[in-house]
């Protein structure tokens, strides 16, 4: 991880996370610190799961949902 001022930049192939959000470039606020962020491999970043939402949308569009 590269720390440049309040900027955090992960190594290649890595992503930063504070446990709640994921980013390739973090600008720390005045209350935050690099210790709150860690690197994880890109492949470990979870994809947003919208499967259920899409299914619900389809049901509504097709008139099968109440």
């Amino acid at each position: 991880m590269i720390i440049r001022g309040n900027e955090l930049i992960p190594d290649e192939g890595m992503t930063l996370t504070n446990g709640e959000t994921y980013s390739k470039h973090v600008y720390l606020g005045k209350w935050d610190s690099p210790e709150n962020w860690q690197e994880i491999p890109d492949e470990d970043v979870p994809e947003p799961d919208t499967t259920e939402d899409k299914a619900e949308a389809y049901d509504i569009l097709m008139g099968v949902s109440e």
Binding site: N6, Y27, G29, W31, D32, P48, T50, A57, I60, G63
Partner: protein
């Protein structure tokens, strides 16, 4: 621009639509159907400016080919009722007495579906006041009817909006569009589905009524009664909620989430929402939403943002923002303009503990270091 809604939502044509990866925008300059290159987050896009609303040749076509109803002509008093007949398994031909013929054909409606007090009588055989166009979707599958009603005179009130087809069962009206600037009251939406979401407990029905009549832009105004609001919202194209009274609301969780057809939503500038603590899924998963204005909302009491703004993949313009004091993400809206991002940053309140505004790489790249510093100096980490 219209969007191929089912394919967009389902990602059926290109596999993995709706993710938050960075993609190159697909630029189009002419009407037509465009399929983006294969790859994550691309979805087919249909572009078309609709000037006429004609379903007489739409037999067998798909829901995705419905026109962009938000662009219908609103210069005269015309109402459009989109009716979903799927649940009722109605034989459109024999029970409704409709004979779909060629372009602009008049039909005979067995019962009136608008008005019980003489304001509008659909049973009239007047050519100009009794037109409907039929659209059958996917063979024997769900069917949506769209009725066009040209209003004679000065329409000020609509009562008992119902299609009353068989044995007094009303068909579910899934959408109403039109230009009815003088209508001040719409009541008895007994044709709507039962509500799915009941979080809007603070909404006062008498103010909801004022959605229509106080606004000149009428498109997809629904939920005149609170109990009907939650489901009917799903069919709205545009919402201007300035007439809502949210002062008794403690949560806006799921309030407008998954309103899949919404392209624009405004809450108004006079809302009292300091008692709201949760906005989880407030406007989440609205794939067509292009514009959002939260400037009238006081979110100083919010402690849970959850997925408030998740899945707003086409959100481009933010004209006003609220003072949300805890972490949240706008990273799904990769197309936000620079000005919109600055609206958000400028609205950030000072915080005393570390909070994170997640914009995503595509958005942060639009900002200068000085602009990002506006957020970090308020205590916000920008990710």
């Amino acid at each position: 621009m219209g969007i191929d809604i089912p394919s967009f939502i389902l990602g059926t044509k290109n596999g993995e639509g709706g993710s938050s990866v960075t993609v190159e925008p697909l630029s189009v300059t002419e009407n037509g159907t465009y399929t983006a290159p294969s790859g994550k987050a691309y979805s087919p896009v249909t572009v078309g400016v609709v000037n006429e609303f004609n379903f007489s040749h739409a037999m067998g076509t798909k829901m995705s080919e419905l026109p962009d109803l938000s662009k219908l002509d609103r210069t005269s008093q015309v109402l459009y009722f989109v009716v979903d007949t799927a649940k009722y398994d109605i034989d459109l031909y024999s029970k409704f007495g409709v004979i779909p013929v060629s372009d602009g054909a008049d039909i005979t409606v067995s019962r009136g579906y608008v008005g019980d007090s003489g304001f509008v009588e659909v049973e009239s055989t007047s050519v100009e006041s009794n037109k409907a166009y039929l659209k059958t979707l996917d063979g024997d599958g769900p069917r949506f009817w769209v009725f066009r009603l040209t209003c004679a005179g000065n329409l000020t009130q609509i009562k008992n909006v119902t299609t009353g087809i068989v044995d007094s069962n009303a068909l579910p009206i899934v959408a109403i569009y039109g230009n009815i600037p003088n209508v001040t009251t719409i009541t008895s939406y007994n044709a709507f589905y039962p509500p799915l979401v009941t979080d809007m407990l603070g909404v006062k029905t008498e103010t909801v009524k004022m959605w229509i009549g106080t606004k000149t832009k009428i498109s997809g105004k629904f939920g005149i009664t609170l109990t009907n609001f939650s489901y009917s919202k799903y069919a709205c194209v545009s919402m201007d909620l300035s007439g809502l009274d949210l002062s008794e609301s403690t949560t806006l969780q799921n309030a407008f989430g998954s309103c899949y057809f919404l392209r624009q939503i405004k809450f108004g500038s006079q809302q009292q929402t300091s008692g709201v603590t949760s906005i989880n899924n407030l406007v989440a998963n609205i794939p067509c939403l292009e514009e959002l204005d939260l400037s009238g909302l006081d979110f100083s009491g919010v402690t849970n943002t959850g997925y408030a703004f998740q899945g707003l993949n086409h959100l481009v313009t933010i004209t006003g923002w609220a003072n949300i004091p805890v972490s949240y993400s706008l990273s799904s809206s990769m197309g936000l303009t620079h000005d919109s991002l600055m609206v958000v940053i400028n609205a950030l309140p000072e915080v005393q503990t570390a909070q994170t505004l997640t914009l995503g790489a595509a958005n942060t790249a639009k900002l200068t270091a000085e602009e990002i510093a506006v957020a970090t100096e308020k205590g916000w980490t920008v990710a």
